[in-house]
Amino acid sequence: MLPDFRLARPQSAAAAVALRAENPGSRFIAGGTDLLPNIRRGLASPEVLIDLGGVAELRELRADDDKLRIGAGVTLATIAADVRIQQRLPALAQAALAVAGPTHRAAATLCGNLCLDTRCQYYNQSESWRTGNQFCMKLVGDICRVAPKSARCYAAFSGDVAPALLVLGATVELLGPQGVRRLPLAEFYRDDGMDWLALGKDEMLYAVEVPLADGWLSTYDKIRIRGAVDFPPVGVAIALRREGEALAELRSACTGASSRPELIDGLEPLVGKPLDEAGLALLDKRLLKCTQPMETTVVPVPYRRRVMPVLARKLLRNLWQG
């Protein structure tokens, strides 16, 4: 049995946002596959849960001319099985399919995945385990167990879908009592394990828009210990556009390696010419420069730092060679 809370089941997004504004101690719940286990472990103790499952407008999925609009409540199983997405935005379909297991994906939603709580081996534990270790700053305690001298928390963002949407140039739509605002997905995240979303207290993630631009190839993959039901110790997404023999545009993003999904910058020297070893070496460097894997999982940091560029090179080469 979970600790006590009240459950509200609004029928519209506007009503859900109004409830959120009226109840500071509330949380949204979508598929519940992240939040309910966290509540059971004492990692969240909401007074009110606002169930978005009854809000039909959040399940909209449609293509308008040059972009795909995905309602926040669309499930990952739906995204992974959508033929348009598989063909035009393969990184997104692959990332959705890489999340947890099939039963999770049937319930898990896009918004829940993008708003996933950050994770750490000192945080995602039972109450008694955390008590025995005197907690950590993300909840109750006062130091970050993976960086005890630091003033901030380094819990890692470990959602699979965000890096794919970052390289696909997605925009998020946030709905608040004042209406809708749009942000590039990269600006939705902050590099802080305790405060990783640029989401106002009374805002909800309402929809995601992904450009359907011609000529882009994309892919996502993650390192995993088991073939299913495994958060990514590291995940990498790549998108590129080729013009003849030259790489015309290139984007890369990582998950599991920092407190936010990281869009890798500084890749400009690779474009305007064919992919070569020097370009791959620069990609390695930029990945390691832009990310900061810490001991947030049992998978050791040196391994994650070594495997991240290996995975990125493999994905980039495969895309480049078609």
């Binding site: 049995m1 979970l2 006590d4 719940i29 519940g32 169930d51 297991g101 039901v229």
Partner: protein, 157 residues
């Protein structure tokens, strides 16, 4: 706080007063005495609690009872009829797909959902459908063989 939950469980419409914070698992096991659905972990890791909601597998430990109001829930208790095991249950029994039995209700429900959609799955499809269900006893091979045997024996259930 309790509210009235209207829901189909194993083919019967029910209306029960159910606490807001009750998981579907709590409602089935403690409210209705349907203890076939197991809790094998502290949330989302093992698949032992798998039931069907409108024919799709769902983790009852990670679902609030009220969030599936009005929908059709099926548990392992619905598989046998008149004391006879379903074809899938029989296949698990005959092909040693069950040992301690703790994962079995979840395995059966995940496999049941698969066979309804895809009556002749290959091994890869069976593995993919059961990827979220852990078993500490069988080593999985016997489970996959059981599902294959049920498929070869004809339609599911």
């Amino acid at each position: 706080m309790k509210n009235i939950l209207g829901i189909w469980v194993n083919g019967r419409w029910r209306e029960d007063a159910v606490a807001d914070n009750a998981l579907l698992l709590d409602y089935l096991r403690d409210g209705l005495g349907l203890t076939g659905t197991k809790q094998g972990c502290d949330g989302g890791e093992c698949g032992a609690c798998t039931v069907l909601v409108d024919g799709e597998p769902r983790l009852a430990c990670s679902t609030l009872a009220h969030s599936v109001a009005g929908r059709r829930v099926e548990t392992v208790e619905s598989l046998a009829s008149d004391g006879n095991l379903s074809r899938l249950q029989r296949a698990f029994h005959e092909h040693l797909g069950t040992q301690c039995g703790f994962c079995t209700p979840g395995m059966l429900m995940a496999a049941e959902a698969l066979l309804r959609k895809n009556p002749k799955p290959d091994r890869a499809a069976i593995r993919a459908a059961l990827a979220g269900n852990l078993c500490r006893c069988t080593g999985y091979v016997k489970i996959i063989e059981s599902v294959e045997a049920a498929a070869n024996a004809g339609v599911a259930a």
